[in-house]
Symmetry: C2
Subunit: 197 residues, 2 copies
DNA sequence: GGGGGAGCCTATAGATCCTAGGAAAGGTGG
DNA sequence: CCACCTTTCCTAGGATCTATAGGCTCCCCC
């Protein structure tokens, strides 16, 4: 009997594809095994279990998303870079909804696996280096990075959940939101009295 | 044998409590039944199934969150109202993590049930009426509402997923983020050429 | 070509979702 | 006060899923 050529990466990829097609929480060991033409017990040789698989999908998604953002922002600066960054983020979420939702799992990903994945760390670096163009000093820079990530993730997440239904097209609010974000970063407010240092 | 006194609302509440304790995706029909001292088959008389239960938990959470926000913002205006609104949102997410994640499900909630729940509609009204203090005209007002919701949800969501680990306390970034949001709303940028109407 | 390890299998146990049909509790009308 | 009927909850059971244990066979490497 010919071997299916399984691998942790191939199992993860099959799970990711399935997640995009039917939603992350319909990704099951049995379904992934069916898609690979294999019995479900065979998967456990490559992946610790369902939790582990979901964590691996999340890391795959983080890596892919980071790569897209890096490509989109390469050679750009300032406002152009910001828009390219944000659009790449949103487009990834649209293209891979299942993978994207995997990145939201508050689950404790296998730390050893996480240490190997370049995506998350690289994403932080990209964000910081892009925002450095706005001449913010710490700790404002960190706060701005977090604000931007919150806004992008929040928008994409609400959009996917149907939070912007039956009204002005989400696309237009997105464009205007990026305007607003850019303006905000250029005029980041000084600390008010009573604010944390 | 004494009756347990089940009801769709009681089942939903038990599910919500369980979600806060063990996480939304460990909320199972069997677990809810155990908590209520009942066999799992009994639940199906009150709730259509697991999907339906999750939708009901989401609506419960939306209602509760809206009530908290309404109470927090009552009698306040401008910056005070904004901060109270945001803090009530975040505090609800902290107090009820399982319920809060239920609100994120892109799931199609039973439309008939959704029509009865006052929470989601009321939340939109509250947000609009609060932001009206910033003198924005449509469509900017809608865009601002969406930006604010994105930022609040995104921050809370990333925070819960451990996205702000090992660095500046999330609390401080939150306070500064609200400063920034307030400033942004007061100086909402005009449309640039090429922006959507 | 002959180990030996890896890859995939069968078999099995336990948990879950959900349906079908039955028994009993509690209100209602005579 | 009793019979009825609706509602509530139960037992029984099928289908699907996660996960483990152990066996067979393919394929690489010496």
């Amino acid at each position: 009997m010919p071997r299916a050529g399984l691998t942790a990466d191939r199992v993860t990829l099959a799970g990711a594809e399935l997640a995009d097609e039917v939603g992350l929480d319909h990704v099951t060991m049995a379904a992934v095994a069916r898609r690979l033409g294999v019995k479900d017990a065979s998967l456990y040789a490559h992946v610790r279990g369902l939790e582990d698989l979901r964590g691996r999908i999340a890391l795959l998604a983080a890596d892919e998303k980071t790569i897209r953002i890096a490509e989109a922002t390469a050679g750009r600066a300032g406002r152009d870079a910001l828009v390219a960054f944000a659009n790449a983020w949103r487009r990834y979420a649209h293209d891979h909804p299942g993978r994207y939702t995997a990145t939201q799992i508050p689950t404790q990903i296998d730390p050893e696996l996480l240490a190997l994945a370049p995506g998350p760390r690289r994403a932080v670096e990209l964000t910081y280096s892009m925002l450095r163009a706005y001449a913010l000093d710490e700790p404002d820079l960190t706060d701005a990075v977090r604000l931007m990530r919150s806004m992008l993730h929040g928008f994409v997440s609400l959009e996917a959940a149907g939070g912007f239904a039956h009204a002005r097209p989400a696309e237009e609010s997105w464009v205007r939101g990026l305007d607003a974000l850019h303006t905000l970063l250029e005029h980041w407010p000084a600390r008010r009295e009573g604010d944390p240092a």
